[in-house]
Amino acid sequence: MSSKNAPNPEIPAPVPKKHPWSLAARLTLWFFVTSFSLILVATGYLYLALAKNLDREDDHFLTDRARGVLALVRERPTDQDAIRKQVVWAGAAHPESVIYLRVIREDGQVVAETSGMGEVLPSSVFTQTQADKSEEFSGHNHRSTNGRWFRVVAVRASIDRTGASALVVQAAMDRSHEEELLEDYRRNLWIVLGVALIVCSLGGYFIILKAVRPVQKIAATASRIRSSTLDERIAVDGLPAELRILADTFNEMLDRLESSFDRLSQFSADIAHELRTPLNNLRGEAEVALTRPRTLDEYRDVIGSSLEEFGKLSRMIDSLLFLARAENPATQINREPVDVAAQLELLREYFEAAADEAGVTLTMQGRPGWMANIDRTLFQRAVSNLLSNALRHTPTGGKVEVQAEIVADELVIHVTDTGEGIPATMLPHIFDRFFRADNSRSVNTAGTGLGLAIVKGIAQLHGGSVTVASEPQHGTQFCLRLGLE
């Protein structure tokens, strides 16, 4: 098989990774383009203005001379000598600049001309002849055969009233020194522009480097921050306003990170502490049991007690896992239409005996038939935790009331007790994990210290919230809001 006919697909060249220009390079380029073009335009304008000015001055001078000749011709048309004298010796009156004048008739016959003009500026040079009407005649530049620059003007004017005969006056002046001046000026301009090129690019680069430096400083600080140096902050003093916003935002983020991190370490320490107590019980009881032979009942007792501790540990781990999951926004809950009043009735029956024994009246209020789209198990768990918390803190003769209502797109549950209340200083912490209002309380009666944290987790999973208001000695009211999606 011939390889000629084989398709030869072009292997695409690897696309070179595009490195976006650095901010400093971009700004420098812009700065350079802007400032350099400004200088370019300014110098160009000045140059053109100068050249124009020189031209105008020359034209003015030539106009005067031509008018002088014309006036003479008009006043004394026959005095050929006088005309010749003025024209031929024109140069003599102005030794500082070489002037040429020529008077010709319309048929081209020369009436008079400055001596030597014929060789330098023949009549054909004066291409634009103007009528003697405008205030000032505008000439043009011409380079003569001997390499010198001239300003030339030609004017045609009638010399009698009838306008039958007319004369053309051609005037020219050597302007080579002006051209030299402009040449000089141009040379200087190039030097100025060259210097501007260097100053604009380098100056721009340094200015912008200085402006960008705070950004680099912020980046350097950010890259230094580790979990061990979370207390480091970006120095805001002296930063420009725009960057101050960035630095402030960044510092606020660090504040939040630091507080989360602190809470996390506190939490780990709490877990370790909470695990230590049941483990210690287990170990101690087992060791003591094994120190000597015991009766079957004693062994049974030890194993039973161990089982209780195991149960506690397992429930604690379950609760912690639940809380970890509740904090993950991706966690899905199992929503279904739930008859709120029916669930509350179930809960009432469930807690009735415990409330009875504690001498507390338990009432539930919820309109029958109300359906809410929530996770049934989580709802039970949240209300149950709030109820057992309320019962635990309400003395004999007290009341615990649960009210349910649907407000807009939320199911709102109020759990009100007439208990001992919670001191204001503790209110902000009661939904924290492992927080117990009364530290002296034994673990058995106060639960694991996770109950209210779980309520908060359940509220979050439903896109809702839980709040608390309390008046010491009068009672506490929890308000649980569950979003109905």
Binding site: S314, R315, Y350, T377
Partner: protein
């Protein structure tokens, strides 16, 4: 009743074998996924208890292969993974139940019995334990011919204990079956209910029927 346990954790396998054997089951243990699959195919078991994380072949795969081969032996997963997705996956693969470690042995036992009992067996209309008699049709209970005055929930609790007589029921299972509360909690609410039931069923009589199994739960049985 033959049960196959596929579990690679030695201690877990050992106590499962011991506990289940003592409950009258015939127990085989495999510690690798492939062995488990092979054994499950060759010998007829009434139930397979499967760990998910296994060497060689994981529990999901064992069950998938078994079901693909047309084997319909009931299966129960034991696993430390308890996300909802894991549960759903286990049940979708054709498992009959799913138990998260750590679990109470009594809970496992209850679930095993539940699976094996699933083949319809009618509950008797009247149940007798010692001198306790429960009439499920009339919702009446009596002891030594004395009518017991029970609330509906107390009757439900007593019925549950009586139907599963000899079986230790955990507080979680009781809360789930009687009050439809489907979560673990630290509250002593169930204990209070049982205490109240006892005050009516056991306290007036010499012979006690409801017993506490410390650290586990409650059992109703006639003890000599």
């Amino acid at each position: 009743m033959k049960i196959l346990v596929v579990e690679d954790e030695e201690k877990t396998a050992a106590y499962l074998r011991k506990g289940l054997t003592e409950q009258g089951f015939v127990v085989d243990v495999c510690d690798k996924g492939d062995d488990g699959l092979f054994t499950a195919r060759t010998a007829g078991y009434d139930l397979i208890i499967l760990d998910v994380m296994l060497p060689e072949r994981d529990g999901w795969s064992v069950l998938t292969e078994l079901r693909r081969g047309g084997n319909t032996t009931p299966a129960l997963y034991l696993t430390a993974r308890d996300t909802v997705q894991d549960r759903v996956k286990g049940l979708e693969l054709g498992a009959d139940d799913y138990l998260v470690k750590p679990f109470a042995f009594s809970e496992l036992l209850a679930r095993i019995r539940n699976i094996l009992r699933r083949s319809p067996s009618r509950h008797p209309d009247v149940l007798q334990v010692g001198d306790l008699e429960i009439d499920f049709i009339r919702h009446k209970a009596s002891r030594a011919d004395q009518r017991l005055d029970l609330t509906p929930k107390e009757f439900a609790l007593l019925s549950l204990l009586a139907r599963r007589q000899g079986e230790v029921l955990t507080r979680t299972l009781i809360a789930e079956q009687v009050w439809d509360m489907n979560f673990d909690s630290d509250t002593n609410v169930v204990d209070v209910h049982v205490r109240r039931l006892r005050s009516k069923v056991d306290d007036p009589f010499d012979k006690k029927l409801i017993h506490t199994v410390r650290g586990v739960g409650y059992v109703l049985e006639e003890r000599s």
